[in-house]
């Protein structure tokens, strides 16, 4: 064991240098992110008490979208500072984030996950596949986009959507929600 434990070094470095989140990242624009977070905070407070719990469901994705969901949770985007967090059960969720085209083998599981989510609930279909099946549309094994199985409130386009697109998409959802 070195004289100064490595964990102490890492923590000290971050304390001295400040968080990775706000420092000179080329994209997304840090100011934009803060703005998004502010707007998100204001509107979500009305309905959702400043927090939004998301349950991710892979309904047939190639796992590209999952990689970007992981990315919005990394310290650089740090989704949780906006009060948005991913939860482990649909019963704890306000939003279902559905990735991929819906494969027939996952259709029932997706429907049951939706049924297990308490109202009010919103469904966000992530990625081009989530919209209409994308490049997998027309297959014997694919039902189509997420809306083929459950009602969808918002689509976030991209293959896969970037973390920034994912965040601004969730903001759009909140605007829709408060207009209701």
């Amino acid at each position: 064991m070195p004289l100064i434990p490595p964990i102490a070094r890492i923590i000290a470095r971050h304390l001295l240098k400040g968080p990775l989140t706000m420092k000179g990242a080329p994209e997304p624009d840090p100011a934009g992110l803060v703005e998004l977070g502010d707007a998100l905070g204001l509107e979500s407070r009305v309905r959702l008490g400043r927090s939004l719990s998301i349950r991710a469901v892979d309904a047939g994705s190639c796992n590209g979208c999952e990689l970007e969901i992981h990315a919005v949770n990394n310290p650089v985007y740090d989704l949780e500072r906006f009060g948005i967090r991913f939860v482990a059960s649909p019963r704890h969720a306000d939003v279902l984030l559905v990735t991929g085209p819906v494969s027939w083998n996952m259709a029932e599981a997706l429907r049951r996950t939706y049924d297990a989510t308490p109202a009010p609930r919103w469904v966000v279909a992530m990625g081009d596949c989530g919209k209409d099946g994308g490049c997998f549309a027309g297959s014997y094994a694919v039902a189509g986009g997420a809306s083929a199985v459950i009602p969808v409130d918002l689509h976030i386009p991209g293959c896969p959507p970037t973390p920034t697109a994912l965040l601004s998409g969730l903001l759009a959802l909140l605007q829709t929600v408060s207009a209701k």
């Binding site: 064991m1 964990i7 994209e27 990689l67 990315a71 310290p75 027939w104």
Partner: protein, 506 residues
């Protein structure tokens, strides 16, 4: 005919099919195919992939001593073939899938349960002779374990984390796992059906999405296969840029997964630290090639995006920062006994099993099976590059993590060499369509050997294409390594394998 016979000597009893490149393809009659199955019990030939057509079954083989590679095909107009899975358990799931998709019956195979077909497609044998069904899901008979105090834990297909869907059925005694059985196929998208008849460019987009985390490897294998089929030579700069992208992909995946393994042992700071490093790689990807995950950047004929003027310095800077940050993280890992306690001795895969199943990638290399497609069979430009292939014998979570850490160091070294030696010239050459052909590509993804086989028609369309994921040979081994471990260590073992659901389910 038993005894010492090489793969090529054996296959020469069949008829060589013209126009299959770069490795030959032989058609075997029923008798010779059956002898092949017998020979598999005494030889060390490996199955690299097995797939079907409406009335033919193909198996990609490698002679382990000679390194010779060839496809053996067996026309089976009567709809059945002698199963190789009895001799080689790695082929069992492949042959069950062949039956599901093409309706060819693997004779002699003990496990005849459907694999990809859950009874929900509304059609049976969709790629063979399709027959409509009522779409009522099958009842799947899981293997059982009986004894005092045994209980079952069903998990999935929807998991608690942000991961892909699959079902795990545990039989446990107290905390200890007695038996794990996987049921996969939930994300089956019918990719082979979609590929048939598509123009090469459209097919390339689909193949790039077989498994999103290995998109560069899949695109590269597809490009190799199409270029081999058409006798096309990509320009040298494209070859080197492809390797550059492949190493960036390897780097990003290894970084994040090492963090995620530690996170599954409740040591979250590694994930935060390495997740931030991964972000550096993805941003360099975006700046240099225009896509964070490098999707659709490798295309048949070359690459779709050349480096911008400031590309080399961006990548060098990224490699420098990632290298420094990574060594800090590994120092932390190596000096945290509570973390090492979780990873060491957990989920041990024996070398014998790894060899028996032909497990590739870090799963094989952490259990003394030291093969890497970049060396064996090898492809350009790796013959001009110096890199080590780390191999360990312990086979536990720690060994898999350490092998991946060494591969990160090797990839950083490769990036440096590629950026130094990157040749000038065009980054793509338009594909010339000269006649039909069949081609094969074998590429090392971060996970292991990705195989793509393709048949291209005169008009430049994909007649048939089969992408094979390394996970086929790794998933069954996860069932073996969890035995005797505690349930709480399953996420750790699972993440240390990190098999692809989408790649396996197709």
């Amino acid at each position: 005919m038993m005894g010492n016979i090489t793969l090529m000597e054996f296959l020469s009893a069949g008829r060589e099919v013209p126009g299959h490149r770069p490795w030959p393809r032989y058609q075997l009659d029923a008798r010779t195919w059956r002898r092949l199955a017998e020979q598999m019990t005494v030889s060390n030939w490996e199955i690299l992939a097995e797939w079907g057509e409406p009335a033919e079954v193909h198996v990609l083989l490698r002679g382990e001593d000679s390194g010779a590679i060839a496809v053996a095909s067996h026309p089976c107009p009567d709809g059945k073939f002698f199963a190789l899975g009895q001799a080689r358990p790695s082929a069992i799931r492949l042959e069950r899938a062949i039956r599901d998709l093409w309706g060819l019956v693997p004779e002699g195979l003990e496990d005849q349960r459907p694999w990809l077909d859950h009874g929900r497609w509304g059609v049976r044998h969709p790629l063979g002779k399709p027959r409509e069904t009522d779409g009522v899901p099958h009842v799947y008979r899981f293997h059982t374990a009986e004894g005092d105090g045994l209980h079952q834990i069903p998990v999935g297909p929807v998991h608690a984390g942000v991961i892909e869907p699959g079902h795990f059925r545990f039989h446990c005694q107290g905390e200890t796992v007695v038996r794990l059985e996987e049921r996969l196929g939930y994300v089956h998208k019918g990719i082979e059906g979609l590929l048939a008849g598509k123009p090469v460019a459209d097919a390339a987009r689909i193949v790039a999405r077989v498994s999103g985390d290995a998109t560069v490897a899949y695109s590269l294998a597809f490009a190799h296969a199409v270029e081999a089929a058409l006798g096309h030579e990509p320009p040298p700069r494209a070859v080197w840029l492809r390797a550059l992208m492949a190493e960036c992909e390897r780097l990003a995946n290894h970084l994040f997964d090492i963090g995620a393994i530690c996170n599954d042992a409740a040591f979250a700071i590694m994930l935060s630290h390495l997740g931030a490093l991964r972000e550096k790689v993805l941003r360099a990807n975006q700046a240099c090639f225009g896509h964070r995950l490098l999707m659709d950047r490798v295309v048949p004929g070359g690459v779709a995006a050349d480096l911008p003027d400031d590309g080399v310095p961006i990548l060098r800077r990224m490699a420098h920062e990632v290298g420094k940050g990574f060594e800090r993280a590994m120092q932390l890992y190596d000096n945290t006994p509570s973390l090492l306690d979780r990873t060491t001795g957990t989920g041990v895969l024996t070398g014998a099993l790894a060899h028996r199943f032909g497990a590739g990638g870090f799963v094989g290399r952490a259990s003394s099976r030291g093969l890497d497609a970049r060396r064996n069979p090898g492809y350009a430009p790796y013959d001009d590059l110096a890199f080590t292939i780390p191999v360990m014998a312990d086979g536990d979570v720690h060994a898999r993590l350490t092998v991946r850490a060494e591969e990160i160091r090797a990839s950083l070294g490769l990036l440096d060499q590629i950026l130094t030696a990157l040749p000038a010239g065009p980054a793509a050459a338009p594909l010339a369509l000269r006649g039909a052909g069949e081609g094969l590509g074998i590429v090392e993804s971060f996970r292991g050997e990705v195989v793509v086989w393709v048949r291209v028609s005169e008009s430049g369309k994909v007649v048939r294409c089969h992408p094979h994921d390394p996970s086929w040979f790794q998933w069954p081994l996860l069932e073996a390594v969890i035995e005797g471990n505690i349930v709480a260590d399953f996420p750790l073992c699972n993440k240390s394998f990190n098999c692809s659901y989408s790649g396996q389910d197709l």
